[in-house]
Point group: C2
Chain length 342, copies 2
């Protein structure tokens, strides 16, 4: 039998390949694979569903990630997917695969993080599964949410001349990971080494304890703005922009000097000899909201805190491009994290 | 810090410990942890949710489980949880953790089994997550279902003098596993060995490709019987009966000579020097339906195919007991599989 390496398809290619030709059987299925969440219609409101799996050694390293933070993050990244459809997360189930290395106290720590996230975002833990694993820790969380049908924002609604907006800043979680990784190596070679985290706490926080941008949705709602397309930035801006453009059948133009970049992240990138723009475009795990909205909403967007207009939607022939500081045009590439290539 | 081994609590104890004091925050949460599914109210119908994680080396051994069968089973066990609440499964999400050992063709096989199960049971695949793992294969499936509020059957409704019924037969999937394990060892020591599966195909089928008992629910519905309490038998009859009794605040009495046992299973147990009654009480993965219903429904139950009345509900002081063939009374013990003790 033929053997095709998974790395030749990548994560998105693989999912596409495995789910091609799927036809909905249930009238309640309104949107299946291909967006941040699935959408179901069970009555008055629409139900959103998303799921995320985290594996030790792939998605997290317990040498520098405290279990409570890990639990918090595992829950929040799911909430972020529900918000990215303009919904409200309501329930999660939590499945854990746990090796003997972990004690009940360890799992209490993990769960306390999950519970804290749930309390903060008003979400219920309604079930799950806990089983022994041969090696390491596996966390799989599935989240339900609700939204009125008219409020849901998909990835495929971006229109010519729409503004492209992003919240917060980009590449910061990635720089936090670089910092943790660097200090881990230092600590491993010299156990008396002072870890150089001072003045860089924000980078750590963005990597270890991200928040979902509920506040941005509330501000948009208050301002009377409904995005035309939206995603959360989990695999890097380039990759997400290309999803929105390909699903909406449009192109885009974003400006390097408009990308929101945190100064701690920029300073560390300089120190580590990394290009911060590349980090902002391709670093993952920011969990910021990326959306497009009508040019008519421009005035309403301006007063919203921590929100940045970074470009606009073009016709599809233009492709997806970044305009550099000197006016040069660079095609965006989806370098988004392909774990099958590591 | 104190270190408590997870094995001291067991799976159910651990889940109870981690989820104690959870208070619903969402008005749509009607039932959280503690039954086959969570129950949510999003409008006209109630939404059920269940999740199940399968880990290589713990829940399955790819030396004798074909990937297509594994996919089929991983989906069906989730459907079984929805049926066990008297609901209809409607959507699943599929998360996979996959090491480099697996090719795209392997995942196609796995997915073809999941898709076959979904087609047979009319369920949609609406999302998921596929990521690289360091070792082995991890499958986490979450299933949604629907039911009218009046139709949902919980574990806590069993009443004094209710009949206890079970579908199909018990211990058969466990005997299938014993057979596969025996032949695996034979094959490992002699690669020319003829595997002794002839006349035992049904045991393999029950282990490798279980079905959820939608047919039993349809028959009950047709007969006008609504169970008072229900579960699916995934961890062994004893364990499940004790769940129903403790949650309903009752006791039970079941009869050894009423337990439905398949003749192939009995023959293999004899051959392998195992007690088939112990296997029927404690073997897992039967995915049969166990339910209680009113004594008034007795006449309606009799014509239903493949359904067996095995005992009745008593007052709680009596405890949970098995009446042996010679009239002796034995307290049931929940020996259900505790993977943390393996």
């Amino acid at each position: 039998m033929a053997r095709t390496e998974i790395s030749t398809l990548g994560e998105f290619g693989l999912i596409k390949h495995l789910t091609k030709d799927l036809k909905p059987l249930q009238p309640s299925t309104k949107k299946a694979v291909g967006d941040d969440c699935a959408v179901m219609d069970f009555g008055a409101k629409k139900v959103l569903m998303t799921t995320d799996m985290l594996l030790e050694g792939v998605h997290f390293n317990l040498e520098y990630v405290p279990l409570k933070h890990l639990g918090y993050k595992a829950a929040v990244v799911n909430f972020s997917d529900i918000y990215a459809m303009n919904g409200t997360p309501t329930q999660i189930t939590v499945s854990l695969g746990v090796s003997k290395r972990f004690s009940v106290e360890d799992l209490e720590q993990l769960y306390s993080g999950i519970r804290l996230a749930c309390e903060r975002y008003g979400v219920d833990i309604v079930g799950g599964d806990t089983c022994a694993s041969m090696t390491g820790l596996t966390i799989s969380i599935t989240c339900l949410g609700v939204a009125a049908a008219k409020d849901i924002v998909y990835r495929n609604g971006a229109k010519l001349n729409d503004l492209i907006c992003v919240s917060g800043n980009l590449g910061t979680a990635y720089m936090g990971l670089q910092l943790l990784e660097r200090e881990r190596i230092v600590a491993a070679s010299d156990d008396k080494a002072q870890l150089a985290f001072e003045g860089k706490e924000y980078l750590l926080e963005r990597q270890l304890k991200p928040e979902a941008r509920r506040d941005i949705l509330e501000a948009l709602h208050k301002a009377g703005v409904k995005p035309t397309a939206m995603m959360d930035v989990s695999d890097g801006l380039s990759s997400e922009l290309m999803h929105i453009c390909s699903q909406s059948g449009v192109g885009c133009c974003v400006y390097e000097d408009k990308l929101p970049i945190d100064f701690q992240a920029a300073a560390l990138a300089e120190e580590m000899n990394l290009n911060i723009v590349t980090c902002a475009l391709n670093g993952g795990e920011d969990y910021e909201l990326l959306f497009t909205c009508s040019l008519d909403d421009y005035e309403k967007l301006i007063p919203i805190d921590d929100l940045y207009i970074i470009g606009h939607i073009t016709n599809p022939e233009y492709g997806c491009n970044l305009i550099g500081r000197n006016g040069e045009e660079l095609a965006l590439r989806a370098q988004g994290w392909n774990a099958f290539n590591q």
